[in-house]
């Protein structure tokens, strides 16, 4: 009875004073830079979801403009067609079909299937943010790339955070040989430079695709989170509330994941946010090198890959679009992470 009364009195006091998350949220709201960066992150989230649900940019692969259509604000190209790549033969006959072309029907069918684009449609001389080699809208392409890159970053970070937390919890909680084992595992992964490890695994898997990239990044990236979570568990397992949990007969699993985990979740959250940025950057590099997402998927990395050769021809817009999108998201996410850390851990400065 007395115990119940004590518990309920604690419960009452809890209800009166704000909890960790409410305090953190209040601190976060006072941080104007943090709030602005949070809005950027939310905006990109919305973009990713909308694109993923095919609400926007679903027709990104449609060839709506002439090849390398310049951005509208730059005006139409004063182009000499001779410098354009062989693909330009199609845009010269823009609007009409060559009746002598035996493959015309087949091509039209393929185009209709792939993007719903009809050849009869007039190809615009300029697009909002320009067009790529096939006259696809760079703006839509960037949105699609945002979806891929951000999804890969989030999913890989979630996987890495899951593994890191699980391993860290087991190692820190149980200690002894389990701790030794995971530390050994950790030392193996950290003794190989990150990018080299990723490339080695990419070489072995030898297949491209979004899932592959997520797996590569997630399975190699858990080490930093592991170390921090393990340290937190070491700290928490000797605290009194855990003795209390043991006294009321909570199982090991329950103590680990119901009692301790909420108390260290802020560490995991900050790390998760930090790793999203890291993995987005890594995905861009991997996709650029051609070991990342598949050829039919567009990501910032694959856009930069195309942009590299386009720049020499003077077509800068794809490079600028991908760079701006990435810089915005990464800056936003980094500042958001800083604000999150400050809000969740006010002692740290």
């Amino acid at each position: 009875m007395t115990q119940a009364a004590a518990l309920s009195s604690i419960g009452v006091r809890r209800a009166e004073s704000p909890g960790l998350w409410i305090l953190a949220w209040r601190r976060f709201c006072r941080d104007r830079v943090g709030l602005a960066s949070f809005l950027i992150v939310v905006f990109f989230f919305g973009l990713m979801l909308a694109s993923g649900l095919h609400l926007i940019a679903a027709d990104w692969s449609k060839e709506v403009g002439v090849n390398y259509a310049p951005p509208t604000f730059a005006g139409p190209a004063i182009s000499d067609r001779s410098s354009a790549p062989p693909h330009s033969s199609r845009s010269e006959s823009a609007g009409g079909l060559n009746p002598a072309d035996p493959l015309a029907d087949v091509l039209a069918e393929i185009r209709a299937e792939s993007g719903g684009a009809s050849i009869a449609e007039v190809e615009a001389p300029t697009l909002i943010f320009g067009g790529d080699r096939w006259g696809r809208d760079v703006l839509k392409k960037t949105i699609k790339g945002t979806e891929t890159s951000m999804f890969v970053g989030l999913a890989a970070a979630a996987l890495a955070a899951f593994l890191g937390t699980l391993f860290g919890a087991l190692a820190g909680y149980y200690g002894r040989w389990i701790d030794d084992f995971f530390n050994w595992f950790y030392s193996i992964f950290t003794s190989i430079p990150y990018l080299l490890l990723i490339l080695a695994i990419a070489a072995v898997l030898n297949q491209k695709g979004t899932v592959t990239v997520i797996l590569i990044l997630g399975l190699t990236g858990w080490t930093g989170i592991f170390r921090l979570v393990r340290a937190e568990y070491l700290k928490h397992k000797v605290r009194e509330y855990l003795q209390a949990a043991e006294a009321i007969g909570a199982s090991h699993m329950r103590r680990m994941f119901v009692h301790i985990l909420p108390n260290v979740s802020h560490v995991v959250l900050v790390q998760l946010s930090l790793h999203v940025v890291l993995f987005i950057k890594s995905e861009v590099v991997l996709s650029f090198l051609g070991f990342g997402v598949g050829v039919d998927t567009v990501s910032w990395g694959s856009m930069l890959n195309e942009a590299q050769s386009e720049l020499i021809l003077g077509y800068w817009w794809q490079l600028v679009a991908a760079t701006i999108a990435m810089a915005l998201l990464v800056t936003g996410f980094s500042l958001f992470t800083d604000a999150l850390r400050d809000a969740l851990d006010p002692q740290l400065k």
């Binding site: 950290t190 430079p193 080695a200 950057k281 800056t331």
Partner: protein, 312 residues
Amino acid sequence: MLAYVVRRLWQTVPTLLGVVLLVFFLFTWVGGDPAYLLAGKISNPEQIENIRHQLGVDRPYYVQLWIFIQQIATGDFGESWSTNEKVSAIFATRLGPSLTVLVPLLIVDTLLAIAAAMLVAYVRGSLTDRMVMIGCTVGQSISILVYIIVFQYVLAYQLGWFPVQGWGNGFAENLLKFSLLPIIVGVIVSLAPDTRLYRTFFLDEINQDYVRTARAKGMSETRVMWVHVLRNASIPIITNVMIQLPGLLAGAFLIERFFSIPGVGREVILAVERSDFPVIKAVTIYVAIATMIINLIADLLYRAVDPRVQLK
């Protein structure tokens, strides 16, 4: 001291064994049968059997593992699958160009980052500090790819200040002609994160009591910063520089690829593209060994910098 070094080296054995097992596991089970990769499309069962026998993959796993350990111990990883060059010869010839670019890069970057970080830490909270930090955050958020593409295009292709890419024969020519732009790009890319990091190290020290004592004694600000604070902040800085050292052996993948520098990094990317397993295996193992040795050296350096550090 010697006992410490011996014990530390002994402790690396299980880790090294783990790395060997990990690499072996990756390339033997996950990687699939290399004979199919090697034989390509024009292959009959007999050919594949032949290749399997040559590579030793038709033998039991423990024998293969033993062969692999022998390869590591002797440094003889056989020949590259795609060029038939000896793997050891590939390293011998590729390491030089990598180091020509990366050693100056690391030195210049570290010195600049220390100076910049100390400056902004000294004027912490000021407009300069805030602007530099914002600049670093934004600069860091732009992909390294963009820096390389734009610098190569503007400085080398359009303005012609540097060769677009390539590599010469003499060391001086390589360093002063072909390496300059890669080094500049590399410094710009790594300066932003390093300045941010070192700034926090300096900030940790700058509010300590000993700094106030030094000032109270009438020491010049220059001496306080460059002697007292720098020495105390140098431990985490050494750690950070040391972390980057193994990367020197693995090469700078992207920079070497873009500027056609025949270094280890470019070789690794080529090897990944061609599924050239012996090369990747060798790089991974050697870089892992180097990492462990460098970690040991880092601990010894701490001791040299700060006599209070106990080596146990």
